[in-house]
Each structure stands twice: as C-alpha cells, then as structure tokens.
Amino acid sequence: MKAHLTRRYMFSASHRLHSEAMSAEENHSTYGKCNNPHGHGHNYALEVTVSGPVDEHTGMICNLVDLDNFVDREILERFDHQNLNTLSEFSGEVPTTENLCASIYEIVQEGFRHARLEKVRLEETMMNSFEYAGGAEIWR
C-alpha cells in the first residue's frame, strides 16, 4: 500500500528581492516593497511530502524522526534566522520564495534516502504559497 505523508515545519528568514541584471527603476517596478535595500522578513511554513509503501512491520512510510532530523539539520539550520541574500544558494539568484522552494526541494531530493520526495510546499505568508515537485506535474 502506497501512501503520502506530509510534515510541516516553521522557520523565519529575511530577504531582499533585487536583480543585478535590472536597473534601479526596473527593480523597483518589478519587486516593489520587496526591493527595500534593508530587506524584510517572513515566517515561512514548509511542508515536505514524501511517499512510499507502508512498511508492514512498522506501519510507517518512513520514521518521522529520520525526516525531522534531516530537515532540522539540512534545511532549518541552514535557513532559519538567516538573511537569505547572504547564503551561497542565492549568490547569483534572487531569493524569491519560488527559488527558495526549489532549493529546498533539491536538498531533500539529493539527501533524504528514507522515502521518495513528492513535493515541497512553502508558505511565505498566509496569503501566498509555492509548490515544487522537481518538474513533475502536481495534480493532487
């Protein structure tokens, strides 16, 4: 029996949306308030969805402790209470939530071995959220 499991995590970080490829006017018109040179912050809510057969001995897709440990170590420690613009991931990329969502997907996809990663969903505020499934179509 294949099932999907989603775990939710919180972290807080700051960012500034600014592209070196654009003029000051273009940056301002494209990013608006998010272009404020001093940056601003969000409380991000991250949902990681994994899937796999339910192990008949444990009743689990994967042990939540393993997922929590991985996300704590590789995602939360890396991004929580950081200025995203200062991190190597975003040295050549604007730290929009789209790009952050894709970065988190790539880290989990490459490093987490206990279940198959289905998708990453990232809420920037209560009013907007982003989903990335590594190019696979999200239909559910």
């Binding site: 099932a3 999907h4 499991l5 339910v54 444990t58 009743g59 689990m60 042990n63 939540l64 559910r140």
Partner: protein
C-alpha cells in the same frame, strides 16, 4: 469531473508496538509512541470524492448520504476509542496515521455508490498528515 471534500473530526488513543520486535527495538523505532498505556490525538479527516455533476440535482454526491456513511463506517467506529484494542484493523496492524488512512479508505470505498473515492487525508496534528489514494 468535480472533486468534493468533506471534513470530520474524531479523537482516539493509540500506541505503536510490534510484538515481533524486541522491547529495545520497539522503543528505538517508536520512541514515546511505544508507551503501552497509549496517548491520544484530535484527528481531522478529509474525505475527497470525485464524479460528474448530476445535471438534475447539480450534485456530485448527496452530502447527506456521504455524511451518514462517514458517521456510520468511520466516526462511530473510531471516535473516542483506543484504536489498538477496539478497532479490528488494529488488532494486528499498528495504528500509525498511514494505516489509519488506509483503513478509512477500505471502510469507505465499498460503500460509496454515486461518487468515487479520490483521497483520504488524515491529520494526526496540524503539522502532520497522511494522504492515501488507494494505490496498491
């Protein structure tokens, strides 16, 4: 095709234990959930059905019927129960959220007549939920 989701809540207790594991293995794998006295959750269940809209009623499914089936087959059996001791599926299977979603699917799927079951989502807490789509 239209998808309709009905939400329900139930509260139950459970613990995780596999008699084939040693006590040490049970503690290591299941941690706090291995406490034999059990512990409880307020579960939130979302049942999603799909189907074509009936041109005369405008319904995918009669919500009253869906609610009755949900109450009879799932909530009456699970709400305010100790899952390991009172729900037959969990006499032999461990009542993880994964297995709970599967058991609820198996209880509902054969009872639904007009609409087809699409997804069973079970929230154990706000931060953890399992989806089951009937995939083998």
């Amino acid at each position: 095709m239209v998808y309709l989701t009905r939400k329900a809540e139930f509260s139950a207790s459970h613990y995780y234990h596999n008699p084939d594991f040693t006590p040490e293995e049970n503690r290591r794998i299941f941690g706090k959930c291995n406490n034999p006295n059990g512990h409880g959750h307020n579960y939130t269940l979302e049942v999603t059905v799909k189907g074509d809209v009936d041109p005369r009623s405008g319904f995918v499914v009669d919500l009253k019927q869906l609610k009755e089936i949900l109450n009879r087959e799932v909530l009456d059996a699970l709400d305010h129960r100790f899952l390991n001791k009172e729900v037959p599926e969990f006499f032999t299977r461990i009542p993880t959220t994964e297995n709970l979603a599967i058991a609820i699917w198996q209880r509902l799927a054969p009872k639904l007549k007009t609409a087809q079951l699409h997804r069973v989502r079970v929230y154990e807490t706000q931060d953890l939920f399992v989806d089951f789509y009937g995939e083998v």
